[in-house]
Symmetry: none
Subunit: 401 residues, 2 copies
């Protein structure tokens, strides 16, 4: 066994739910496939950084993939999202995550412009050079996009313009350091210009006629500056690939120079085709040593405070695992953090993890779940232990001399 | 109880073996003495550095003895091995681990020169001054030796000449930094000269006549530079001693300025007299606060992929423990890392550890083994926790203010 399949169910961990008489969604779910992996495997709890510390998915993934401490490596969300759109970045490029929004009479009416299906047509008219700075707009899924700023000596000390609520005016981007003052002025001018262009764009004229929210404003957040890191392959001498539906995770895969495998139906949403992803993973194992599958919806149900939805989705994932049953590879399943339905937010609780495959020291656990795994043979491990433990178990460990 | 005996069974940890229906050698072994220590003690799993990370014995011992992070303190294997031969080193000396080997027609025929019994006679003819560098050769056990280079401004950025296989030519030592170029040239000249001297040496003439592999070449590895560290006694205010059969561990004992106690029959090999070592430990407890006993063979069986041998040897250790039965001291048993027989290599799996003595919080464990100890009261501890926990339990803890 020299290959591994690593499944991250985003926001998997949860807390006791009254709907399940104190069980968590994972504990309440019927998960025969996961349980059979547990019975022949070893379990534990995984804390991406340290118990009690709550992370966003970006930093959590950096810790889990061993780019730790994440503060040293994490270039900011904007960069990762930009890579996720397929943008090619250059050293020192600045990037923001962008939401196309609807602004009327100076106030935000809809932060997602009615979840407009695509903003690809806006890429060209919104990419331009302005006073020495090149602005490049790249569309993502639905209302999502990234804005790249290219120029000399640009800083990423830039505040968000997205106030994260409706009924208020978008904020102006502020310089968070003196060195960013000059570019901030140009950036705010650009945002204003974008508003004018979008207001006149034929797509918005059509949307107005159809009484759909116009995508006439860009809300910016998560400024970051691109810097290359050691690739996953160089770092671990593993040929890795990434199967993900959401821009952030695709972007992270790109950032560490993994091959992205696109799967039809892998939307990153609640209706995503998990089975198709696992089938793609099975095929990918022929060509890659390390197949990373990311599934987003567990986190979405957590944010929505929907424990039943989360439980049902976990059962769907478990059913889909059937296709990997006969696959001879180390199988690892965990989440990147907990998103308890009762909080509708990420939490600092640790997350169940299971390792199944040849050589593991099988423990007494029989069901995949928070309480059970907290008594597992691996006890508590940290994000940074996961890839080393995978290398250890597939016999590709680096012996430190 | 103010004294401690600390037993390291090298490479103790293992993985499930089919020979024992999924048990590890330690689990499969009949270990009544260890088990009775477990029943009245507290257990856990110990990871020298961090779960999943695989260490050589040198770095593992640095972590376990609290010289952490080892990267800050570890001077390279050559230095530790040189100290193990009894060499007296000076600040900034360079040292290599040396194998006496057999080279014929430019190719390595035997990396250990037929495990020649002693290379002590070569010490004198091979120690010389060459172009400003003093070369000092010190013999270890069998074919093993150390080469010390003394001079001004020497660097340890030197590659290995030992290719670790036979049938090929020995490598030339390469400078791994510009500052090492000058000395590398002289060192390679020295190695050549050594070959000439050895070819003509009377011992090799005799060996040739007897058709034994000649010890006519030196293979170098593990270059390091000596720098003093705080002694074990200063660091922990404990009078410590070391009972070990193998050069590396003796050398480490020397490095932290422990008293070395030589025991007849303590060979560092599979036929070592463990009982004699434990008896020596019992006597040493009269004069020392902290007696460290190192036993190598568990690791050797792991490297040989011999689970039955490993199990039998563990049973031999357990029998020998009988002599310590009535000794009133804190007893701690663990390994420095795992060497699973299925891998024949070190692994990043953690290692069982037990603490037995007055004051410990007795847990539910009844048998010394991987699975049992993973449910122990100490849970997972790290190398750096071991000596503090010993100090804690013998009432000699430092209270951090």
């Amino acid at each position: 066994m020299t290959k591994a399949i690593f499944i991250i169910l985003d926001g998997l961990g949860d807390r006791p739910c009254k709907e399940f008489r104190g069980k968590t969604p994972l504990e309440a779910a019927s998960t025969p496939n996961m349980d059979s992996l547990v019975k022949e495997g070893v379990c534990g709890m995984q804390s991406p950084l340290s118990l009690g510390f709550t992370l966003e998915s970006g930093p959590a993934h950096f810790e889990i993939f061993g780019y730790t401490p994440f503060k040293k490596f994490y270039p900011g969300r904007g960069i990762i999202e930009a890579l996720g759109t397929g943008a090619k970045l250059r050293e020192k490029d600045i990037a923001f995550r962008v939401n196309f929004a609807t602004v009327k009479n100076g106030k935000i009416k809809d932060r997602r412009a009615g979840r407009i299906k695509s903003v690809k047509s806006f890429e060209k008219p919104l990419s331009m050079k302005l006073k020495g700075i090149e602005f490049i707009l790249k569309s993502g899924t639905e209302h999502r996009a990234a804005l790249i700023m290219r120029g000399s000596n640009l800083s990423d000390k830039l505040s968000n313009s997205d106030p994260h609520k409706i009924g208020v005016a978008p904020k102006k981007v502020k310089a968070l350091g003196k060195e960013a003052e000059f570019e901030t002025e140009i950036l705010n001018e650009y945002i204003k210009k974008v508003h004018q262009i979008l207001n006149k764009h034929r797509i918005n004229k059509t949307r107005k006629r159809k009484k759909l929210p116009e995508a006439n404003y860009i809300l910016l957040r998560g400024a970051g500056k691109f810097k290359e890191v050691q690739s996953f392959k160089e770092k671990y001498r593993l040929k890795g690939c990434c199967i993900a539906g959401t821009g952030l995770y695709k972007g992270f895969g790109k950032f560490i120079d993994m091959k992205l495998i696109n799967v039809k139906g892998a939307t990153g949403g609640k209706t995503t085709n998990v089975k198709a992803k696992f089938m793609a993973a099975k095929r990918a194992l022929k060509r890659y040593d390390f197949v990373w599958v990311h599934v987003k919806a567990t986190d979405l149900y957590g944010h929505d405070g929907d424990p039943v939805g989360k439980k049902n989705f976990i059962e769907k994932v478990d059913e889909a695992l059937e296709v990997l049953k006969k696959v001879k590879a180390l199988k690892v399943i965990t989440g990147d953090h907990s998103t308890p339905c009762s909080l509708k937010e990420h939490s600092g609780d640790d997350v169940p993890i299971l390792f199944n495959g040849k050589g593991v020291r099988v423990d007494d656990c029989v069901k995949f779940g928070e309480r059970e795994c907290s008594e597992g043979g691996l006890q508590r491990i940290y994000g940074k232990n996961i890839i080393p433990e995978i290398l250890n178990l597939i016999g590709k460990q680096d012996i430190i001399e």
